[in-house]
Amino acid sequence: MPKAANYRANSVIYFQGDVISDKIYILQSGQVVVNYTDIETGKDLREVIQTGEFFGVKSALGKYPREENAVVVSDAQVLIFTVPEFEQFVSANTRIILKMLRVFSNQLRRIHKQIENLMEKSEALSPEIGLFRTGEYYLKNRMYSQAKYVFSRYLTYYPAGKLADAASKNLETSESCMVKFGDGKGPSPSVAGPPAGTLSAHPGAGAAPAKPADTLRPQAGQALSDTAKEYYNAVSLFSQEKYKEALGEFKRIVEANQDPEYVVKAAFDMGRSVFMLGQFDAAIAHFTRMVQTYPKHPDLADILYYLGQSYAKKGDVERAKGFFRKILTMEKDEDNSTFLRAKKALRGLEEAQNG
């Protein structure tokens, strides 16, 4: 049975952030307001609860922390329901649920709109292209019946769409492969892409000549190049402390010499891997070569830091101090992590010498 409770003016029924949120309230008399911060504007908003209205429903049903403060304005009487009590009560009054469904779906619509507005600024896929790409995925993976469904839906919604020709070709391919080989079987089908240029309207995407396989990558910079993937795998190995394997991968990227951006990064990481493997002479040789090859390397301070550490590990304290001091003179930003690490390392060496 729901319990009646009395609250004095200025008391708080629950606070925003309360984790225990398993009660639902209905206002019987008096005045209660809920206030909360609007997530879009950051403004504090205030909503007066009507007599007979439920509050605290969403966080209780959804089992998440309270999102607002429920404050008593003038002495109030409320009924307190547990979730099962609430469920039992509204089940006998379906109109209440329907009313709440309407309120909630309006809130959902509003937040959805807000997200859409934000996403427009970043990189959302248009439904038309998205649908086409979904079909393409299924066809490539020889899931013919799924591909058939998606391409025929595409043609239903976008009969004159810019990808309609390609979609009907792909639909035919899906149907014939289905008959000839059966779902999931047969050689990799050839997939019709969109006409050249239709998807490269994004600024920047037209800069690089599109390879056929890339024509369905509508966003510039969205797809990962092979080198980028290899580099990421190598960084992953490093983060797992598998330095030997990481070193091998970084070396491969440097030697393949495909993408200058990743070659430079991988060259630096090769040195770090060698250092972590305890091969300080090799690390010194590697980083020294790097300073000569890339005197303007963006991670120059880090390179010098590793040089300093390698000398320190070898017991050559003076040389090590020299590198750390050099970092302190070239780094302007005193909160920079390399600056701070160099400072700490230098102090450590000096204290060891003096003590």
Binding site: I39, E40, G42, V57, K58, L61, G62, K63, Y64, V90, S91, A92, T94, R95, I97, L98, M100, L101, F104, S105, Q107, L108, R109, I111, H112, I115, L118, M119, S122, E123, A124, P127, E128, L131, R133, T134, Y137, N141, S145, Q146, Y149, V150, R153, Y157, D183, Q219, G221, Q222, A223, L224, A228, Y231, Y232, N233, V235, S236, F238, S239, Q240, S337
Partner: protein, 215 residues
């Protein structure tokens, strides 16, 4: 379960492997599973990911209540599936006669509202590094809710996600996310594996995100 015999005219049957609706397709109906299993999947990057497998008496496609929004995932029949198909026009009739279903939908909505609000909070972060970190905070909150009461291993957290997943949640490009994760790995804040990411100190991420959120 509620008596739904009056609703047979809304019944649809799908065979194993058949698509009920596809991601990006405009949708105006939602479904109540009566028998069989339905797989909810999404193509992320180059792989199709299963988000959920649903069974009776679960509801899916409920976002169709939002007019004109494309489906955010694909629904595929796993075996022979029987569903009741509803739209905005006839759903009130169903709900009036079936408070249990209405309640289930109400709960789904509370969860969706929370998820979407949380997503919005991620997207309002301007610093891309903070966005990536906040995606992990969000995932941690979801995991904590799912495993409420279970022992947590200190500050370390493991997430079964790929770069593409994080990019999706953060509304960012995959290459940008990759660069940022690589950077976090170099700072020894995360460990990266092909199928998962380990955050070494979740509170560190939380402090970082809070420092970047405008007050």
């Amino acid at each position: 379960m509620a008596d739904l015999s009056a609703f047979t005219r809304f019944a649809r049957t799908y065979q194993a492997g058949e698509i009920i609706f596809s991601e990006y397709e405009p949708g105006d109906s939602f479904y109540l599973i009566q028998s069989g299993k339905v797989r909810i999947a999404k193509i992320v990057g180059d792989i199709e990911k299963t988000i959920d497998v649903l069974q009776p008496p679960e509801i899916f496609g409920e976002m169709a209540i939002l007019e004109g929004t494309p489906r955010s995932a694909t629904a595929v029949a796993v075996d022979t599936v029987r569903v009741l198909e509803f739209n905005r026009a006839n759903f009130e009739v169903l709900m009036m006669g079936n408070p249990q279903i209405a309640l289930r939908l109400l709960k789904l909505f509370t969860k969706r509202i929370y998820d979407q609000k949380r997503r919005f909070m991620i997207l309002t972060l301007e610093d891309p590094q903070a966005r990536v970190a906040d995606v992990f905070l969000m995932l941690d909150e979801t995991q904590a809710a799912a495993t409420a009461g279970a022992e947590q291993d200190g500050e370390k957290r493991e997430f079964k996600v790929t770069i593409e997943d994080v990019a999706h949640w953060g509304g960012m490009g995959a290459s940008e996310v990759q660069t940022i994760l690589g950077h976090f790995a170099n700072q020894r804040r995360v460990e990266l594996y092909p199928d998962r990411v380990v955050v070494r100190n979740i509170s560190d991420f939380s402090r970082f995100v809070n420092s970047r959120r405008k007050k």
